[in-house]
Symmetry: D3
């Protein structure tokens, strides 16, 4: 079993705001991240798949195809977007990095071919903060 | 003469949109950057000052004081903000990285002590795009 | 289960020196790291916790609180210090990166709230050397 | 149990080419990577070992010895080489990053002392593509 | 005057070999870089242009257009290629990073629009070696 | 004229302490950096030379020779050392990064061959603080 990782970049606006709470409670819990006028990030996304290298190619999976799948099913939907307003798979969810990673997992997992399993979504919100999700 | 650089980080939402143009013209020129719902970035800001090292301290300038000046006069005003809506010194300007770097220069230069000159504002919009401004 | 990582920086002096050994034996085993006048490093510390994202916030744990806990219980004690002389939790231990990572784990684990588990301490001594400790 | 990682660099030429296929099929599957005149990379290799820190040294393993073993048994054989033509342990294999990582594992594992286990070979082909192999 | 930099990546095979010298002399001067079977690198290319920000866009130059020009006139010709064999503008030149940077300058400078000047080609051969060329 | 840069790493202990001042004044000015038990850093040193590429080699200067000169005249003297106690060329100077960069310039400049000029010493004390010295 070999693990193959491809990283992709996107940037987006978002805010952290719980609509069931008052504005004051949101400010207290989320601080500057609750700014009603939004803020944003350069996200770095690392997608790891695992499988057996093919005897014909030496590949677990063609990394160019992996990149195409990530771009088509994730980057196209979230790059240069507002995560709270523009992204169907984040609708009615808190726009935390944790939930975004889970959402990205759910976007990608149906599109991988047989023999290739999604192993990890690692998502940097800033160079010093990241989350990882392994599908369970 | 020695040059001293301190880097600081902030993140913000913005869009590129010229109000004198139609929506279509903005889309044509700025593409995804014109998204009316905003997008955002983790900016990395490098501020370079120059001067003679002091015989008493060996410092061109105390880097902690430099950091404090940058935080007080720049980071406080733009971190976790919307550059188009929330930042006084970007009002009525196109929110390009170029103009943001010039604006940051103008914010900082009055607050440096005698004997220390601002040399360069270097501003990364993404890890692969940056601008530099030397005050002229 | 989602894993959340926050990185923090500190710098410190140390030496590698076993007091049960002769000076020559220390030099032979530790080389330049045994320099009796000390040397030092910029350490990069990555703290990973795991848990279920809260439905109210989308957070496994508020990353600002995580940062505060790391600063209060670790960074305050070791930043700009001599690891052999100034740090209570390294007393009478060899000051290797391995032992420092274990010591940091022990400092942090009592201060995490219920529902949030410490998963990993990853500690870079240089950009090309790091250790990881998972608590067992 | 503590995990210790050392990173080393090398650069090499290679091509992806399956000799059982026509030139056209190779081009179709591997694209520019099949260029018969070769291309190349700066590879970054991270070798992780695990073990108990020694009470005498605080080390899982002396990282200088680990570096020496990696240089002697891997870097010497592949740095500034053509992976397809010059490297004995890649003979008759597809020169993918996956197979190179497996080959490096097999080179290193016999040379580690008792009490120190090889845990992971992580190999970057480019800053945005890497593979990991855990020996099984 | 503002300076705008865009970075692009490519990888290539090459060797350092002076055809006027014996094989032995080449080995003596270039060491492992003279390997007749080639070696290779991931190159990182930073292209800096300078100009006045446009009042309409805030841009010195549209960074997407800059990227397109770099890709069309440089990356297409050298990515996944053999610099000695496949690249017209390196024909009959020593394939050093210095000469490659000068060659890239000459490729790009005719394609920039009026009001935008090429300022610097910065080219990393490895993360620890780079050259800069300013056109004179 | 082409500029060639080589980066090298070292780590060292130091403190900032002016012997003409009281302990209290040192603490007030230098804060944690005045800790009498020392602290330390991983320094990253970038040495830039300039010259004309040789028609025979394509090199401004053989980067391996540049590395050897830096190691022999700088790294050997300061790596794994105490900058205040162990380094002859820092004797009786404040151990600031500014003064260390000037000292390194003075160490290197006599050892470069004709036709190759030292252009810049760039020295990172931490990933977010660096100084540059151009010899004047």
């Amino acid at each position: 079993m070999v693990y193959l990782t491809r990283s992709e970049h996107f940037n987006a606006a978002h805010k952290l705001f719980n609509p069931n709470w008052t504005y004051e409670k949101n400010e207290e819990v989320f601080g500057k991240c609750a700014n009603e006028n939004w803020h944003g990030h350069n996200y770095e996304l690392l997608v790891t798949v695992k499988g057996q290298p093919s005897p014909d190619t030496g590949f677990v999976f063609d990394v160019k195809k992996l990149s195409t799948i990530i771009k088509e099913h994730v980057i196209e939907k979230i790059d240069h977007r507002n995560l709270n307003l523009d992204v169907d798979f984040m609708k009615d969810k808190m726009c935390s990095t944790e939930n975004l990673a889970i959402g990205i997992w759910q976007q990608l997992t149906p599109h991988l071919p047989e023999g290739v399993q999604l192993h990890c979504i690692k998502l940097y919100e800033t160079p010093r903060i990241y989350v990882e999700y392994f599908g369970e």
